[in-house]
């Protein structure tokens, strides 16, 4: 049986953990609020750019343009994936489920571009080729950083350094529903973008100014920038949401544990008193004899 002091010590340590988790919860709640505001500002752009590109592409028809080039005959395809994890842990299943998702979708030996310290630590020992370390912290992503990544991907794609460019991030459907998602950005693909279930495309035939090729040279970098930035903002908001939920349940667990320990402590105290009383009684009885 644990002594009263053991129990008191445990209660103290649980109480300290509780203080940490509830502080972290408060912090991530505040950060989440901020991140959500940014997400709300970005989302219209993110969705509209995707929609616009989807429509524009369908009518471009992908007739051998360099951005549409699927390079099907090429052996040893170089698939590059941008994987966005958090810089820190203690966010419940956030990093874990994203890493698992990434492992499912990226074949061994493919190229990874990693953002976030957790992903870097994990994948650095795995069987992947890592390319270009962007010194970008995944907290408070800026549009400038997104442009840098997008420009890198675009130039690598054009020069043949990579043949596919995809991005894996966590999409925040709601505070409690976070799901890893993959978007294929390059090559532009008419089929994946106009996947079934999407609203049917209106019958608009666009004319391209000044001409198809130079327009796409302007369009694609903007599209990449927009999507990468959107993904970064989504990932950051998801991370905060995941951390908030995780810390909330950790605080609840700590509370429950404290309650249970209090009971055990009371019982131990009573037992101690009872045994003391019985010792006194026994002592007194011995004297009387």
């Amino acid at each position: 049986m644990e002594t009263m002091r053991d129990i008191r010590n445990r209660m103290k340590s649980v109480h300290q953990s509780l203080q940490v988790t509830s502080a972290m919860k408060l912090i991530s709640t505040a950060k989440l609020r901020k991140a959500r505001r940014r997400l709300d500002e970005t989302l219209p752009y993110f969705e509209a750019v995707r929609g616009a590109i989807r429509e524009i592409e369908v009518y471009a028809g992908g007739n051998g343009e360099k951005w549409f080039d699927r390079r099907e005959r090429k052996e040893d395809r170089r698939v590059a994936t941008l994987v966005i994890t958090a810089d820190k842990g203690l966010a419940g299943g956030y990093n874990h489920s994203l890493i698992r998702f990434a492992e499912e979708h990226c074949p061994r030996g493919s190229i990874l571009l990693l953002l976030g310290a957790v992903g870097k630590r994990y994948f650095i020992e795995k069987d992947y080729r890592l390319m270009e370390d962007f010194a970008v912290s995944t907290k408070e992503p800026t549009f400038y950083e997104a442009s840098e990544i997008a420009a890198f991907a675009a130039s690598q794609f054009i020069s043949g350094g990579i043949d596919d460019f995809r991005v894996i991030f966590t999409r925040m459907h709601s505070t409690v529903k976070l799901e890893p998602e993959m978007i294929t950005l390059l090559p532009l693909d008419v089929e994946t973008i106009s996947a079934p279930g999407r609203r049917s495309l209106e019958d608009t035939v666009y004319s391209y100014e000044p001409d198809e090729e130079s327009l796409f040279d302007v369009l694609v970098p903007h599209y990449l920038k927009g999507i990468v930035y959107g993904a970064l903002v989504q990932a950051f908001a998801s991370e905060q949401a995941a951390r908030m939920t995780a810390m909330d349940s950790a605080s609840k667990n700590a509370d429950d544990m404290l309650d249970r320990l209090q009971l055990v402590y009371n019982r131990a105290r009573q037992a101690a008193i009872t045994s003391e009383v019985s010792e006194i009684v026994a002592g007194a009885a011995a004297l009387e004899d």
């Binding site: 970005t42 616009a52 429509e55 549009f143 608009t204 666009y206 302007v218 369009l219 927009g226």
Partner: protein, 150 residues
């Protein structure tokens, strides 16, 4: 005048969403005015002045690069950044211009030079448009002054 729906979107905000009678902006070969019933088309948007006429009033905005899409009864403009003329942060634009000019004289890498030239063009555009607000009472001059930098 016939109206159409216009949206100006940036990654940071939705600058405008509503009806417009005419929108004028800078594209690859100079200024372009979009009116209702324009043919569906897609074109690049360059750094410059954007003018939007709605309810008989013309508003001006500084925009950076992006693209625009016209379809039936609708114009969408996607740019990296956009501000209305009265919102332009002049001290910030001025210091951006200084930084960019300094880089232009010290950098040697081609792509960094390009980036600095772009940054300088953005800052100059903002300053020119902001300056035209201050002297808003001379509209003819302000338009000329705010015309895009080459």
């Amino acid at each position: 005048m016939a109206e159409f729906h216009c949206e100006i979107l940036t990654p940071h905000r939705r600058l405008y969403a509503g009806n417009a009678e005419a929108v004028i902006f800078v594209t690859h070969d100079g200024e372009l005015e979009i009116l209702d019933q324009h043919e569906p088309c897609v074109m690049p948007v360059r750094i410059g002045l954007l003018r939007l006429r709605a309810d008989g009033r013309t508003r001006k905005a500084a925009v950076t690069e992006g693209f625009a899409r016209v379809k039936k009864g609708r114009l969408d403009i996607f740019v990296d950044a956009a501000e209305w003329d009265e919102e332009i942060d002049v001290p910030r634009a001025r210091s951006a211009l200084e930084r960019a000019s300094a880089r232009l004289s010290s950098e040697t890498l081609r792509w960094r030079l390009d980036a600095s030239a772009q940054a300088a063009a953005r800052a100059r555009n903002r300053l020119a448009i902001a300056a035209s607000v201050v002297r808003a009472e001379t509209p003819a001059q302000s338009v000329a002054e705010a015309s895009p930098q080459p």
